[in-house]
Symmetry: C2
Subunit: 191 residues, 2 copies
């Protein structure tokens, strides 16, 4: 059921992941939804988002800690993987966290907090791989990278092509290369 919920969130946002749709997609008996998720849709969606957030963080860490490649090339590889994954999954699945973030209203503050925590976790995972001594600078670049990747999902959905991920990966990589060239400014020589 959590898998079906995640897929529905990625395809159609929060409204697409209603209990009826989750039951239809997962073929679970409807009674089991309320047995496992007594608080209903908000609980089901919240748990699916948490799982999605942790999976995405693990993926980020795997790509960005690959010491066999330069740091810019790790960002290129991450985004190439995202582009290929997007196309192979049917070019119709966004990021569940991003999608829910844009559908939130004031009644859903519990889900908003889960989205905020997921983004913060991704920002921390990226920041820890950056070679700059200034923590604010590392977090700033990492926030830009998460925004750019979330935006790539948006553009890719509209275009039905994962190509925007490649564009984003290339510019993130160049920004890192130029920061290294200008080492003194960012202090990137320290690591």
């Amino acid at each position: 059921m959590l898998q079906a919920t995640e897929t529905l969130l990625r395809e159609r946002g929060l409204s697409g992941a209603g209990i009826q749709q989750v039951v239809a997609r997962s073929r679970a008996p409807i009674g089991s939804v309320y047995y496992f998720f007594p608080k209903g849709k908000t609980q089901l969606v919240g748990e699916a988002l948490q799982i999605h957030g942790e999976k995405a963080r693990a993926l980020l860490e795997r790509f960005l800690s690959d010491k066999a490649q330069s740091l810019p090339d790790r960002f290129r590889a991450l985004c190439r993987n995202a582009a290929a994954g997007f196309d192979q999954a049917g070019a119709n699945k966004g990021c569940a966290i991003g999608s829910v973030s844009l559908d939130l209203d004031a009644r859903l503050d519990a889900l908003r907090t889960i989205c905020e925590d997921a983004f913060d976790g991704w920002i921390a995972a990226i920041a820890q791989e950056l070679p700059w001594p200034d923590e604010a600078e590392r977090r700033s670049f990492a926030e830009m990278a998460v925004a750019a990747i979330e935006g790539a999902f948006v553009l890719s959905r509209a275009r039905r092509s994962g190509e925007p991920f490649l564009t984003v990966g290339e510019w993130l990589a160049r920004a890192l290369e130029q920061a290294t060239v200008m080492g003194g400014q960012h202090g990137s020589a320290s690591r």
Copy 2:
């Protein structure tokens, strides 16, 4: 009614802009919806998205053609304006085009095309202000900029703060500054 539809799309995505909600928000009689929009919700949302796309393009053009500032500073000003606008509007309104893009399903290809065209228009508006002779390079940076700004909406919604726009504006500006420093590579001295 179009104004109410746009606001609802920005707040809650495609499912938030149902006919019932638009009628309640705009206080228009329900009969008038089908009088002005005989094809119902898809027509109403499509027209609201087109208006939103054109307004956003005009805003981009206004900021990015301001010759009184350097090009990097124009991107900073654009994103500062977006951050302030986001916070002042209640920190709960995304981009209508981005929001609908993440909620699309296969039945909604007419809306998808409107979103794709809006993004293409914004990319063209940004690309035309870039001083590089290579058109593919101009479009690539412009696509990155649109993705980053769309992603800033996503992060800002989750955080209920427009701060991610400032982060994105700063890194876009730096990328342009470094491209100018490395003029030979991008040929930016040509204009």
